[in-house]
């Protein structure tokens, strides 16, 4: 392999109602081993994937939300969240899980992985990718 490519995973769907959020996350985890430049975008209903307080006990399905918090350990540290998508859904930043990573280039300081952007910034970030994966 030559240079790292910029991989973007676009998440536009709510969790649990369909499997797409979970199976997208499984690709992210595997992809992390390939040393590419990885970003995740949460837009539209995708912002619900990282809502805090998810508890699937009564549903009888697996709660995979803790995995988002572990992404930093896999070197996946850029999770872009669209502000307009939150607002339309009656959500604020406080309704999301805190997701952080330890920056190995900065004495393992804890830093936030969630990057809150507006729609125009999200569109620009998307336009700078090599590969855009949607599920």
């Amino acid at each position: 392999m030559s240079e790292a490519k910029k991989f973007l995973y676009v998440n536009r769907r709510a969790p649990y109602g369909t499997i797409y959020a979970l199976e997208s996350l499984e690709v992210v985890l595997i992809g992390a081993a390939f040393d590419q430049d990885v970003s995740l975008a949460f837009i539209d209903d995708g912002v619900f994937q990282i809502a805090k307080g998810q508890d699937t006990k009564s549903l009888g399905v697996k709660n995979f939300s803790p995995t988002y918090r572990a992404l930093g350990d896999y070197g996946v540290t850029k999770l872009y969240v669209e502000k307009e998508s939150l607002a339309e859904r009656g959500l604020t930043e406080d309704d999301l899980m805190p997701i952080i990573y330890e920056d190995e280039n900065d004495n393992f300081a804890e830093k936030p992985s969630l990057i809150f952007v507006d729609r125009a910034e999200m569109a620009k970030m998307m336009s700078e990718q090599d590969i855009v994966l949607s599920f």
Partner: protein
Amino acid sequence: MPTLHMVNKSPFERNALQSCLAHALDGDGVLLFEDGVYGAIKGSSVSGDVEGKGGVKIYVLGADLGARGIESGRLIEGITVVDYPGFVDLVTSHDRSQSWL
């Protein structure tokens, strides 16, 4: 002859809830479940449609709220939370069920 309308789609992604509410009659019930529970959150861009539908009783499935991290304090006023046995009661106490797929 009330109908139980069942909506399992996010109102932000699809038109199912909107179409359901446009066809529900006074005395009917609407059950929000699966991704449909997002229609029960207050202060969203679609909550006005739900609040404005007087005459129709709105129910929401608790298990689906919990999975999605939605606490009861965030629900639109007047919505009733049910569990799966309550879901069954809703089906048997209405004359028919209609799924908005």
